[in-house]
């Protein structure tokens, strides 16, 4: 009887152990499977995030989620080192779920940031294209300092690079390059704009001179030089009777301030001498009375105010002469025509013929409405 009880109790305990072990084994099996599902899901989300460049557009969120995933893997490994029946995967699953949640947030944020970068880049690219077009149309023909031109070209090259990045869908890179390009291009653009705006502050005076010239032309021939249009006109009876292409001093924007500034003077002058043959090296020439009284007064005032050095000379020998047709502004301040055109204008002028030189006969707004200044120059 006693034996029977012993066998019965031992058998019961054995069966109980087997049942408990079986249940625990099943529980651990399910927990292991769930852990694998959680980690696999997190890993797939991370791969998806990588494909969407979350490491660029939501960098910190992505890296945080990646760290959490690695930590979950470490915890899983550590737990797997323990005896099968005492492993606890709850923390691993929780960490994997957090990693997945975070990486999904990173994907969402990356999408938003990428769209924002794309929009910002496209907006900036549009602004830059317009600035480049304006600069090339209105300001690039101005005599600009070398560093300003250099900035523009560097910016232009950077902008092309940014467009290439944009074409590849690398909008963050494209935007950052466009921003660098914008800084350079804007400096050149602002310089050119300011220079031209300052120049056109004299427009009222140019208009006044043109009115006077047109009135005077009813009684005699007048020569009118429009610097921006690179034109030399002959007025007769209030109308243009002849129009010639012209070339100017290399630093032609603005009035002439002193000898050697390579600028063409602006104002009202007259022909003082007609030169030809051995009298001039430029085929034929019409010498004008630069500096006139107004030029002298301004020169003295500039000298007194320290605008120009005390040792500066006012210069002279400004002519309308031949040798032109080089396609560039090359003189030291004279107005150059082709020899053929000099043959035409020379007999139309006498000593005493008024010569008006102005920056422009039309306002800046009118000029801008023309297709482009460059195109206008190219048509010549």
């Amino acid at each position: 009887m006693k034996k029977f009880w012993i066998i019965g109790v031992v058998s019961f305990v054995f069966v109980l152990v087997i049942v408990i072990t079986g249940l625990k084994w099943h529980k651990q099996k399910v927990a292991g499977e769930n852990t694998a599902i959680a980690l696999r899901s997190a890993s797939e989300a991370i791969s998806n995030a990588r494909l969407r460049h979350a490491f660029v557009y939501a960098s910190s969120l992505f890296h945080e989620s990646e760290e959490m995933y690695q930590k979950a893997m470490q915890m899983w490994r550590k737990e797997n080192e323990r005896w099968y029946f005492v492993r606890d995967y709850d923390q691993v699953i929780s960490m994997a779920a957090n990693a997945e949640e975070k990486v999904n947030l990173a994907i969402k944020k990356a999408g938003e940031h990428r769209d924002r970068f794309q929009k910002d880049f496209e907006k900036l690219a549009e602004q830059l294209s317009s600035k480049i077009k304006d600069f090339e149309s209105y300001y690039s023909f101005l005599p600009l300092p070398e560093d300003i031109r250099n900035k523009f070209v560097k910016g232009r090259i950077l902008f092309t690079e940014s467009q290439r990045s944009g074409d590849k869908g690398e909008f963050s890179k494209a935007y950052n390059k466009a921003k660098d390009a914008s800084e350079l291009i804007s400096q050149a653009y602002d310089f050119g704009k300011k220079k031209l705006n300052n120049y056109f502050e004299s427009f009222k005076n140019w208009e006044k001179l043109n009115k006077e010239a047109l009135q005077l032309s009813h009684s005699r021939r007048i020569i009118m030089v429009d610097k921006i249009a690179r034109k030399c006109y002959v007025y007769k009876n209030g109308k243009i009777s002849h129009a010639f292409n012209s070339e100017l001093g290399r630093n032609w924007v603005g009035d002439k301030n002193k000898q050697g500034d390579k600028s063409t003077p602006e104002g009202k002058y007259y022909v003082t001498k007609k030169l030809k043959g051995s009298q001039t090296i430029y085929y034929k020439a019409l010498l004008i009375n630069y500096p006139n009284e107004e030029d002298k007064a301004r020169f003295n005032s500039n000298k007194a105010n320290g605008v120009i050095p005390k040792t500066a000379q006012i210069g002279g020998l400004i002519e309308i002469h031949g040798g032109g047709g080089k396609g560039t502004d090359w003189t030291d301040g004279c107005v150059a025509l082709t020899d053929k055109d000099m043959d035409k204008i020379y007999p139309l002028a006498d000593v005493g013929t008024p010569v008006f030189i102005v920056g422009s006969l039309v306002s800046w707004d009118q000029l801008k409405t023309r297709e482009t200044l460059k195109a206008a120059n190219d048509d010549e």
């Binding site: 499977e33 694998a36 690079e161």
Partner: protein, 196 residues
């Protein structure tokens, strides 16, 4: 009786402690090292999409390994096979990356040569272009533009030396665009002078 109980317990213990197959640490380390080698070769830069796929495969394989480890009866055969695939793909990626790098390097060098050719051509055109009153070239503007293009080419060349072939190709191509526009500008100026 005692013997049979002892026998059953022994079998149970054997099952508990000796049922696991050997953890494929060597294969895991080899796959990780192969992926690192692909990254060191520049696969993440030159073949980004393929490299992202490779990282995903490595992650999937390591999950498979741990999944087996978490089982009472582990079987690493499938995981080992996946790890070998990852190692092989990573090794192939090193070769592919080198080939892509060589291709891009060639592209960058060709673009640099092309710009250099255009710069030389432009410098010749500058000589032919309208000259100034005092015999000096009156094309400072274009010369400044050319200097900026030359600087960009030098930058592209140094990027090639530094192994940044994508950046070098982009810069050289951008410089090439500008050199072409200068070339057109110069030719137009010369044609205009001839016309006159």
């Amino acid at each position: 009786m005692k013997k049979s109980v002892f026998g059953l317990l022994t079998i149970a213990m054997v099952l508990v402690f000796s049922s696991c197959a050997k953890y494929p640490q060597v294969e895991v380390d080899a796959a990780k090292a192969a992926v690192e080698a692909a990254k060191a070769a520049g696969a993440d830069v030159y073949l980004p999409e393929a490299f992202t796929g490779l990282l995903g495969s490595l992650d999937a394989a390591t999950v498979m390994v741990e999944e087996q480890k978490s089982k009472f009866f582990s079987n690493y055969d499938e995981a080992k096979s996946k790890l070998s695939e990852v190692s092989a793909a990573a090794a192939q990626m090193v070769t592919d990356t080198e080939a892509r790098k060589a291709e891009l390097k060639e592209e960058a060098l060709a673009a640099i040569e092309s710009v250099k050719g255009l710069i030389a051509q432009n410098q010749e055109l500058v000589e032919k272009a309208p000259k100034g009153k005092e015999g000096k070239a009156a094309l400072e503007a274009i010369k400044a533009d050319l200097a900026a293009v030359e600087a960009a080419v030098a930058e592209a060349a140094s990027l090639v030396e530094g192994g940044n072939f994508i950046g070098a190709a982009d810069k050289a191509k951008a410089a090439n665009d500008k050199a072409v526009s200068i070339n057109e500008e110069l030719n137009a100026a010369i044609a205009k002078t001839k016309k006159r």
